[in-house]
Symmetry: C2
Subunit: 417 residues, 2 copies
């Protein structure tokens, strides 16, 4: 078989320029999160196929890279379905492996556990511009914290990181609660078991508009009266904490007790603590795709860019799938690849950390003199510079330009003495 | 299917304590290598199955985690062998993907290209203590540099990193050259096509000793005369550069011209530049397993620890498998997992970078006061501390002890005002 030069379909080679940006971003994010008391941890990239296909991952479960069984366990002649051939797969997110990790190690983990994970995930999505089948996720999660301290700290930490990364870009955190979503649908008169279908339509609000939502609800067989009542409520919804508080009266018995106060308190505390720098709004049309969310949900949108740059929420029922006992859990994920794209499009330059010097020597320089040049390079490195030692190219001008493009600002030429 | 709490066989969850050590090591290694002008880059973890099974990987090719084809490409009913089912697999090292990357991107890469890669690799090895099926490799490679400047810089950079990581551990770099190995075998009278078999036996010298090597050579049908001549040469071999220089006379026409001078020069320059801090020895029994090496090979052993902590060599023929045109290449890989084990066994403590403070508040603290506590935490974070804000546990003594074990040294208690 011939060797293939290109990466596998949908994955990419990361070139040095992008890699410097990625390393820089990861360093900022890790540093910020560690200041908030989050602890780095890691799970294997390979996960049990039983866990990956346990209906926690929604549509992502259709996109799994499955790994073939090995040795005696692989019985090709008896295999009837894909399931007979695989025992594991590449993780499609960091949340499912985190809950397995917590279930497996909770006895030795801090309580509550504030986890910081940065790692690759894989999804066999249809290849398209700017979307890759291997990409990096950056998550923080708090497990074992039932109160809204979890949400408050997640939002403060994530917005602090975003402000440091993109100081020029205005952004807004939009918040909602799955229980408010359900209560609004119930209050409007939608049948309880239709809530998910209503939310799928609602989620399209920013694409198809109010009229589009109404039309799709009708097409899906819901009563016009319910649609009208629902859209009427959305139309008069405020964006601030005081409106969220008032939902208690508006939705009455449809809303679980304490829900509106809880979300309002999150908004008030975050606003008070963050001291500005970003917007914070209640968004009754915010749905978030994953079915595992049970309470607060949040998403960050950045001015001038479609889609979200971060998102998360509370998922109190997931650890229980492993342990039989529910554990409160809440997480926030930064869209790492999206941020990279935004910074690249803006022509962002990573601030130089050290002076980059190039020592260029003529090919006639003998070994003993090269030794002296290398020693001089060591001294410069010890005093804090990056030093490249390289042979002078025939085209010296081109070589210098190429090195300048890589960030080298000081040059020294050495000839045979 | 039931959810599984343990990681998949042979892989591990990395707990917070180990993760702090890993992050610390990676930071030192990256920083050191960047000072030497190495550039971070990354390849996808998934590689074409054609490349992974191209006979570059030796025994590692038997240990590949293969990935199932997807969608229409998977034709289970027609599949007769494993090969029909898979189109890709997880990389078993970083060198093969690096050469593919270089072949694919050389037009836009610096020349020579000094690559720095840190990443996970996977091998379906039999599970055993301290060896895992997913592990981290830390490689530097120089592509496009034909002279021994490549070897000299790789050895200087790797030993600088090792001295920084393990300042207490004496270590020795052992060097050899594949061409010297071959010349010695030819000089002793072994047939040319038997060289690989002789090297496999020679590689066991540290385990079975000189007598064991002689016996195995005889068992494999080689002439006693050749074995005696070979072992006689090994017995009188010196460890320094001047002996390496003398190999030119000893081996005469069996040795490719310039080989002994080249290796002696590497040893002399490294010794001169490094200014001590580690041993550097010629080791005529050093073989290195991978078949792709074409010239210099090196390995680092650390006092008190079996096996090597780093290894590498020159592989001038590998890029050519992709491009049809050979490119000089040389690399050095630090045994990251081994270093982690050594440091853990020594009870190494990662030096604290910032003060870790815990703000503990009573459950009766109202939301407005919590807001003030969080603001105080922000101020402390901005002045350079890591601050954890947490609810006071019922057992305050246990909570403090547990936080102290996580590195928290300052505590503040907050009660409702």
């Amino acid at each position: 078989m011939a060797m293939k030069k290109k990466p596998v379909t949908g994955m990419k080679d990361i070139l040095p320029g992008e890699m410097v940006l990625r390393d820089y971003l990861i360093a900022i994010i890790k540093d910020t999160y560690r200041r908030f008391g989050f602890t780095p941890m890691e799970t294997p990239c390979v996960e049990h196929i039983e866990n990956l296909t346990s209906k926690q991952g929604g549509d992502n479960e259709k996109l799994i890279f499955r790994i073939l069984k090995r040795g005696e366990k692989l019985r090709l002649e008896d295999a009837e379905t894909e399931a007979d051939l695989t025992d594991s797969g590449l993780r499609y997110d960091l949340t499912l492996p985190l809950t397995r990790y917590y279930a497996n190690n909770s006895a030795v983990l801090p309580q509550p556990f504030k986890a910081l994970q940065i790692g690759s995930v894989w999804r066999a999505d249809r290849p398209q511009r700017g979307r890759f089948r291997q990409f990096t996720q950056c998550d923080i999660d708090i497990l074992g914290e039932a109160t809204n301290l979890a949400e408050i700290e997640l939002i403060l930490a994530t917005t602090t990181a975003l402000k440091t990364i993109c100081p020029e870009n205005a952004f807004t955190v939009r918040v909602n609660d799955r229980r408010i979503l359900k209560a609004m649908a119930a209050w409007a008169g939608f049948p309880e078991d239709a809530a998910d279908s209503v939310f799928i339509t609602l989620d399209k609000m920013d694409k198809i508009g109010e009229e589009g939502v109404r039309q799709e609800l009708m097409e899906n067989g819901f009563a016009g009266e319910a649609a009208d009542r629902y859209l009427g409520l959305l139309a008069k919804a405020g964006k601030d904490a005081s409106f969220v508080r008032s939902l208690k009266e508006i939705l009455g018995e449809c809303l679980e007790e304490g829900t509106s106060e809880n979300l309002a308190e999150i908004m008030e505390t975050v606003t008070d603590c963050a001291g500005g720098g970003f917007g914070l709004e209640f968004d009754p049309t915010l749905v978030r795709g994953m079915g595992y969310y049970t309470g607060t949900i949040f998403e960050v949108s950045m001015e001038g860019f479609g889609g979200s740059v971060a998102g998360g929420g509370r998922y109190d029922k997931m650890v229980g799938k492993f342990t039989g006992q529910d554990t409160p859990a809440c997480g926030f994920s930064i869209g790492f690849e999206r941020i990279i794209t935004i910074l690249q499009d803006q022509g962002f330059q990573v601030p130089g950390m050290r002076t980059k010097k190039a020592f260029l020597f003529d090919k006639k320089v003998p070994a003993a003199q090269l030794s002296d040049i290398l020693k001089e390079a060591t001294r410069e490195r010890e005093s804090g510079a990056d030093v490249l030692v390289a042979r002078m190219a025939k085209n010296k001008k081109f070589q210098r330009e190429s090195l300048a493009a890589q960030g080298y600002t000081e040059f020294r030429d050495f000839y045979a003495e």
